[in-house]
Symmetry: D3
Amino acid sequence: MTGSQLAGSPAAESRFGMTELDDLPEDLRERIGAIAAKSGFVPNIFRALGHRPAELRAFLDYHDALMDPPDPPARDDADAGPGGLSKAERELVVVATSAANHCLYCIVAHGAILRIRSKDSQLADRVAANPWQAELTDRSRAIVDLALALTRAPEIFGDSDIVKARDAGLTDDEIWDVGAITALFAASNRLAHLTALQPNPEFYLMGRTPRA
Amino acid sequence: MTGSQLAGSPAAESRFGMTELDDLPEDLRERIGAIAAKSGFVPNIFRALGHRPAELRAFLDYHDALMDPPDPPARDDADAGPGGLSKAERELVVVATSAANHCLYCIVAHGAILRIRSKDSQLADRVAANPWQAELTDRSRAIVDLALALTRAPEIFGDSDIVKARDAGLTDDEIWDVGAITALFAASNRLAHLTALQPNPEFYLMGRTPRA
Amino acid sequence: MTGSQLAGSPAAESRFGMTELDDLPEDLRERIGAIAAKSGFVPNIFRALGHRPAELRAFLDYHDALMDPPDPPARDDADAGPGGLSKAERELVVVATSAANHCLYCIVAHGAILRIRSKDSQLADRVAANPWQAELTDRSRAIVDLALALTRAPEIFGDSDIVKARDAGLTDDEIWDVGAITALFAASNRLAHLTALQPNPEFYLMGRTPRA
Amino acid sequence: MTGSQLAGSPAAESRFGMTELDDLPEDLRERIGAIAAKSGFVPNIFRALGHRPAELRAFLDYHDALMDPPDPPARDDADAGPGGLSKAERELVVVATSAANHCLYCIVAHGAILRIRSKDSQLADRVAANPWQAELTDRSRAIVDLALALTRAPEIFGDSDIVKARDAGLTDDEIWDVGAITALFAASNRLAHLTALQPNPEFYLMGRTPRA
Amino acid sequence: MTGSQLAGSPAAESRFGMTELDDLPEDLRERIGAIAAKSGFVPNIFRALGHRPAELRAFLDYHDALMDPPDPPARDDADAGPGGLSKAERELVVVATSAANHCLYCIVAHGAILRIRSKDSQLADRVAANPWQAELTDRSRAIVDLALALTRAPEIFGDSDIVKARDAGLTDDEIWDVGAITALFAASNRLAHLTALQPNPEFYLMGRTPRA
Amino acid sequence: MTGSQLAGSPAAESRFGMTELDDLPEDLRERIGAIAAKSGFVPNIFRALGHRPAELRAFLDYHDALMDPPDPPARDDADAGPGGLSKAERELVVVATSAANHCLYCIVAHGAILRIRSKDSQLADRVAANPWQAELTDRSRAIVDLALALTRAPEIFGDSDIVKARDAGLTDDEIWDVGAITALFAASNRLAHLTALQPNPEFYLMGRTPRA
């Protein structure tokens, strides 16, 4: 947490306390430990959900099924070939829907991942500032528009949104990916709002410089 | 599906097709088969998610962790004792948040379950019509208000919402239950909107009459 | 009123008291008595407005002029032939506009009448849950879209809404019917909100089963 | 209608045609004729509704019951004594709710009447520009706030709105007046939006100068 | 300020006090003095901003650059010829954006100027009541629609708004004029809201009668 | 501009073209040249406004009067002493209001300046993600809440907003600063939306690392 004169003294990282890695059941300790080993720190979301292992386990399973699909498209990131969304595109959906929901944790954490996956140091900030009008390729715009249509006013989501996505070349499998990721982060954003979850400091700078 | 002169000929139950029970992996077939055996039909949500078994499995795990907690409070429904929300209260959260999101499937399906769990044949219709003003006990109103605060404008959810919930007597564990269920159905509602999911006909009448 | 553990002990049927049939002026007593004789109970709206007979009389006159026109179309319900909206279509307008306004009394009471007039036991619940996306015939959808356009943001109602209705085959007389019924229930919904009017218990189940 | 270079050539006074006084049934011809004799012209609303005499008759009855109550309070305008709202206060409700609904006809026509009834040449323009913040006496502010609460988001109208009105000294009879007038003009505004009704030119200047 | 029984005793003209002409720096005293000499009074906005001369000076410079361009189009008001917006069209933008922002001072003051510049005594009241649907020439409507698109939801302003304006015949220079005036009055409206600024009484009647 | 596979090939920096420093009138060339010399590049906003020198000059004057006041408070940044807002606090207002308006240019450019002025590398990202709930000192929160109240729904800005600011210890001079800066950036944001203005690449990283 920061401690500037404007932001004040450090507040809690989460409204309902954090669970340390060592206090998790073994399967979760190993699974999250592997993530921590790779990124150098334990992302705060796991510590915030840790006091409810069954919920955290289901959350991780759901997350991995959508964000780390077992059979990833055998192609470069951001390629629009058959096989579903690229990993960068999946993060683009997360940043866009989290921006529309003004979710601090998800914007900062997944903004960092989007910078890395897209190899673009500005894209995440641009989508976070204004997902509706950020300049994107036609395919990326169709993906983001579909996510936004489902994010804030799902009651008017309808056939015309599906038709627009198909007209932009998205397959039904890709439409499902966009919709399901948007749905998962509708939940994830709200868990972060519920807990007033703060991003780990490392996320803010990650992917901004060639070696950061 | 209905076929009246106003509603027209039957449309699809889901925008992206349905998976039958026999085509699911064995663990899901058994798990959903048990639900079908109990209720007499396979709720459409399972068939709509079935073509992505990993997502369906995570969804079921998440759902069960929150809606069927392993150690249920040893008390009557709607009792406000220690141990978290009663099962009826959990369904109340679902109907309220689904009403605010205008999610047909969740309103009708969980409205039916709320009628059964609350032993109140009108409550679900009243909450579905207007969750903000439906007449409730103070405790139920606090639960619903907390869910609604997180549903439509999560960006302004803050300490004052937590304080109001605590002032109404909710424990932090119960606040988490309300928030986590609201988050899960933020996702679930959007999956239903994505797929234009139709409720099974049986749900409409369930719990409305002593023996229905 | 219900008395479940979640909904609490019975509250008032109306915020400002109810007037019994016997205390109404003779013309209103006869007129509402005839309705009560037919349906088996006095709909609460009449008792809630009864302390202001001149307002109740004008309300009834307006209601009958639009919902029970003196020269009804000589055709089956829900038929789209010349002569204006069918009675089922008129109730469809009421349920859609009341759903958009979240008016408990009108959704439940007119939902019951819509079930009876449309001979469709699910339509009212589907329109009440989500009037914007409920599956309907093209004609019914055009009727509901016109009503919704005038309900929540009348300041942007304009020529394009009229053109869409005409393109869907509605005559100017039918467009007037939809608009005027929407206007009347903009008033009626607000009277119910003003008085926190509760539906008669009978409405909840009416028209749901072959003989209910 | 105007014909300036910005506004273009005169458009229709109403989207669905106008009925002249001579073509109305005798009772309506006499009743509206009396109004025309007094004001010097036939207000366009009557001509726009004239092709449906039963609806016009009910509208007039409802209007008169609320805006011209048979036993008016025996006191000066704007006096807060027993007997309900003064006639100026009733017009204040109309202008406030019509402003929130951006209804051209009702703002201009009832703005003129409010100028006359309140003997204040600026009040109507100030309430029309911004009903939420126009400077008013505490009583007038309570009246307008109650009307606004019911106008745009009736689904969240509740006990707290009633309490605020009572705390400001409004009797339940006066609260009913405010609510019922707001409801009537929720309908009236929408009839004007439906018909794209234009105010008579005379209304624009009426009551602005000592002798106008 | 008015003092009717509904509006109460006169309130302050501005929330933070007013600066008189004689207390301004010499350049501002001369500049505003010239305006006062022409219109017969000192518009309240200048007195409300006067305690911060540098801000007032920049505001006046910005205002004059857009509302009184140094090389005005050599043509009649409201003419759509080359050279940018006419002065009447510029005032039309101001009244439309101020109406959407419900800014009392700007609606009344610039409504008066629009009446004079357009030689149309009704146009300002019509645009103020409902800028989205007021009847206008196609060119005026395109101007107003562009202004409105930028006024309330600037985050979704995009290429399609520009295309619509160009399709209606607006040049890029005219589009800039509309956008820049809308931007300036986004600021001006908020200064008036900040200070609860009251219009000078003279503005209410100006331009309404041939000699007023 | 970026050129990743998701963001596509570089688009224009501004919708209506850019004016180079050498093509500006001498006073503006010198003035903006001094800014460029200090920061190492010409901020794009000046090049986007450059084709209208009078507007750019007034914009700069207004900006400097509020963001670089001639007599700055002789105290450390973020100090709440007499003399108005600190420079860091002024930038906080800009980032908060630009975040609420989703203005890419202002969020990125003034986010960079806020990082430098506040010596806090995370604050700008946190306020940009969610200005309503970002954790701040009580004084900073009061400043941001006042700005937000005036940003999106100025029509309901009123005495209660002023009272809350005063209760938090803001002087009337500071309230004016907050309100006037919010007003200026209501304009500035819309100029950026009008021109689809892109931030200079340098802004994205500025102030994020000790020496960046």
